[in-house]
């Protein structure tokens, strides 16, 4: 028995020592500018994370082909966050240890909340893809968005429901995670302020496969419109279930419901869906169309808004660094607060964008309707504070 325990001890010590060597030997200095992308490549966030990663790679390739940032090429490394707060924290710790100039990602709010203190402590700017409103309210000077805060998007959508759809009552279907709950909590007060009744308030599960029961509840609520706020795959499943239940009322959503992946997965059931979209390759801006074609050629499928977010995140790093004139993280963060980047100055930014003092962004957005399997822009909404 003692021999067994000693063998165990030797095996344990050897493997642990080897592991510590690997874990300790990761820091390295390099001439290229190091961007580390901590992103959802597995778990529920994988569809969104894969789009983001592709967008980042595309931008890095283009920028490097034109000489990099201030003459230095970009070296990008992708770490999988597993859509898990603990794993994201480990990956962001690693990014900071490896002397990342800027950390890109993640997209899901839980992983962002678990990792943003690390970049703040290290003074490393972090450009994320999250839309939940909470994390830019904490006074962290190093956190920046690439998309509209959901709290800013919801008033636009509530106006649309009141003025265009003429809805007096709305059934709200949301996914019970930080993204969906945040959207639901932002939307319902906006509806109530406009005198729109919430006829049904239906929570669904992340990863839910069958939406038949929820679609029946929506149908029975007999509301004038349905507001759907789910993640990509769940959105497609709900649309199919709604079509099976012959729900004839307008189905309205925000960004994810009108994403390319949702339209592809939902097929014919996506036709007629309307809503508000922050970023869209079919938007009436020349930059978006060019980006959409390059992305399609490179990866064989249409980019959703996350691909655009990843792409513009890298161009944001390039533009702001060139404004600062050197690679200084603190100056980068200070400059990005309150900065505005126009397409005329940097085409890679795709749409004129302004960053607020808390790291939120302000930009134009679009009202879209899916027609014949394609998102068609019906109207362009202006910036909130141009």
């Amino acid at each position: 028995m003692t021999k067994t325990t000693c063998s165990t001890a030797i095996a344990l010590t050897t493997s642990l020592a080897a592991s510590l060597l690997v874990l300790g030997g990761t820091a390295q200095a390099a001439d290229p500018v190091k961007l580390i992308d901590v992103i959802e490549l597995s778990g529920p966030g994988a569809p969104a994370g894969t789009n983001w990663k592709n967008g980042v790679d595309l931008a890095v390739k283009e920028i490097n082909a034109k000489g990099g940032i201030l003459g230095r090429p970009i070296a990008v490394t992708h770490y999988d966050s597993q859509t898990n707060p603990g794993a994201t924290r480990a990956a962001v710790q690693r990014a900071v240890d490896e002397d990342a100039y800027v950390v890109l990602g993640p997209i899901f709010s839980g992983p962002i909340s678990a990792s943003m203190q690390i970049t703040q402590r290290a003074g490393v700017p972090q450009i994320v893809g999250g839309e939940a409103s909470a994390f830019t309210k904490q006074g962290n000077p190093y956190i920046f968005r690439t998309s509209l805060n959901q709290a800013d998007a919801m008033p636009k959508l509530a106006n649309y429901l009141r003025d265009e759809v003429k809805a007096k009552s709305v059934a709200v279907v949301w996914v019970n995670n930080d993204f969906g709950k945040g959207g639901r909590d932002a939307m319902i007060p906006e509806l109530q302020k406009r005198g729109i009744q919430v006829a049904a308030d239906i929570a669904t599960e992340s990863g839910q496969a069958d939406f038949a029961a929820d679609a029946i509840k929506v149908k029975n609520a007999n509301a004038d419109a349905v507001f759907v706020y789910l993640n990509e795959e769940e959105s497609a499943r709900f649309l199919r279930a709604a079509r099976q239940q012959a729900i004839a009322k307008p189905v309205i959503g925000e960004t994810t419901l009108l994403g390319a992946k949702v339209i592809e997965l939902a097929g014919e059931a996506a036709n007629g869906v309307k809503g508000h979209v922050g970023l869209l390759v079919d938007a009436p801006k020349p930059g978006f169309a060019a980006f959409g074609k390059t992305y399609q050629d490179a990866y064989g499928f249409t980019s959703d808004h996350n691909g655009i977010k990843g792409y513009t995140a890298v161009y944001t790093v390039k533009t702001i660094t060139e404004r600062v004139g050197k690679f200084d993280r603190e100056a980068f963060a200070k400059t990005l607060h309150g900065a505005r980047i126009d397409v005329a100055q940097e085409p890679g930014i795709l749409i004129d964008t302004k960053w607020l003092e808390n790291g939120d962004v302000d930009r134009e957005s679009f009202l879209v309707e899916v027609t014949d399997g394609k998102p068609v822009v019906k109207a362009t909404l202006p910036m909130i504070n141009p």
Binding site: M1, T2, K3, T4, T5, C6, S7, T8, A9, A11, L12, T13, S15, L16, A17, S19, L20, V22, L23, G24, T26, A27, L41, S42, Y79, D80, N84, P85, G86, A87, R89, A90, Q93, R94, V96, D97, S109, G110, S113, A114, Q117, I118, A132, A134, Q138, N176, N177, D178, G180, K181, G182
Partner: protein, 344 residues
């Protein structure tokens, strides 16, 4: 048994200074991963007691991790308790809930017990997610503080790792003592044959409840350390999958082996990080390794060493038998010749 446990004690005491000094050169990422290994080793130690020693199949250890983490997060961020007090309260709460969960274990066994504990894990997850007034719901609880002990701030990565190491040592020593004591033997008796254990005077009811409660308290203690380690918690890390990973940890390490939880936690929580060097393949490689281990050694990684030892001792015995064969052959030859002679 006593010799084995004494060797375990020796290893613990030798490993402590090594683990104290060895990671001092690591940066924050390495320290975080090694700290996570320690925390999950504590949770796995608890499940190893429940499953490996007492033979009670539990899928609730992830839930106890959550109970400990949420209790500590709420007590430190909302009530302003210091971490040591929150740690004790979280462990005590998990112990109490473990006693309650132990009652179904008195009535059902094996996979039926797994279903009961699975349902409990789902209930804990739903409470964490839906009771937003208490737990923060899906938005979680942020900025969980790291401790200040006797005026010194242990918030930095290395001091916090060393605090975790000290707590792990204390809990491992307590587990060593427990397993060495008559309680440990009673747990083993419970696992091997409950009826026979009862006939020998072991109070089945009390020991089943104790096995659950102590295992749960270790889960709660681990959760109480997990919360300040990550500094943010939401319900996701305590969902059913967390209990499955902890079950894998104990089985892969070697259920019923004192160091099994440490080996298993290394396998479940450090190996995926080490495999990141393989890029996008790392989860596929990890899954393949899991499959291989389960196929080659259902008794876990430490079971491989046991099997190697058994194989060696059998080979030695076979060699000894072979060496003794000529003598035996000569003896039997005599008999044969005698027999033949008699026939002739």
């Amino acid at each position: 048994m006593i010799r084995r446990l004494d060797a375990s004690l020796l290893i613990l005491l030798v490993a402590f200074p090594i683990l104290w000094l060895l990671p001092s050169g690591l940066k924050s990422y390495g320290l975080y991963v090694v700290s996570l290994w320690l925390v999950m080793s504590i949770a796995a130690m608890g499940l190893n007691l429940t499953l490996g020693y007492a033979g009670l199949t539990s899928l609730a250890q992830g839930a106890f991790l959550g109970i400990g983490a949420y209790a500590t997060a709420i007590l430190t961020t909302k009530a302003g308790w210091p971490l040591p007090a929150a740690f004790l309260a979280s462990s005590a709460l998990s112990f109490a809930v473990g006693v309650l969960l132990g009652f179904p274990a008195l009535r059902v066994k094996h996979h039926y017990l797994a279903f009961v504990t699975l349902a409990f894990t789902v209930v804990v997850f739903l409470v964490a997610r839906n009771e937003q007034w208490l737990t923060g719901g899906v938005f979680g609880i942020a900025n969980i503080p790291r401790p200040v002990l006797f005026g010194s701030d242990l918030g930095a990565a290395l001091p916090f790792y060393r605090l975790l190491l000290c707590v792990t040592l204390v809990l491992a020593l307590a587990m060593w003592w427990l397993l060495k004591s008559p309680w440990g033997r009673a747990f083993l008796a419970l696992r091997e044959n409950a009826v026979r254990a009862a006939s020998l005077g072991v109070d089945i009811r009390a020991y089943t409840l104790l096995a659950f409660a102590i295992g749960s308290a270790y889960g709660g203690a681990a959760g109480s350390l997990y919360a300040p380690l990550v500094e943010f918690i939401d319900p996701a890390p305590f969902a059913l999958s967390a209990s499955f990973v902890l079950l894998l940890t104990v089985v892969a390490g070697g259920a019923g082996s004192f160091f099994g939880p440490f080996v298993g936690a290394f396998f479940s929580y450090m190996l995926p990080e080490l495999l990141r060097a393989t890029g996008g393949w790392y989860l596929i490689i990890y899954a393949a390794v899991v499959l291989l281990i389960v196929m080659i050694s259902p008794t876990g990684l430490l079971g491989l060493i046991e099997r190697w030892r058994d194989h060696r001792s059998q080979a030695k015995a076979a060699a000894a038998r072979a060496a003794a064969a000529p003598t035996l052959g000569a003896a039997s030859g005599e008999t044969d010749s005698l027999g033949k002679g008699a026939t002739q």
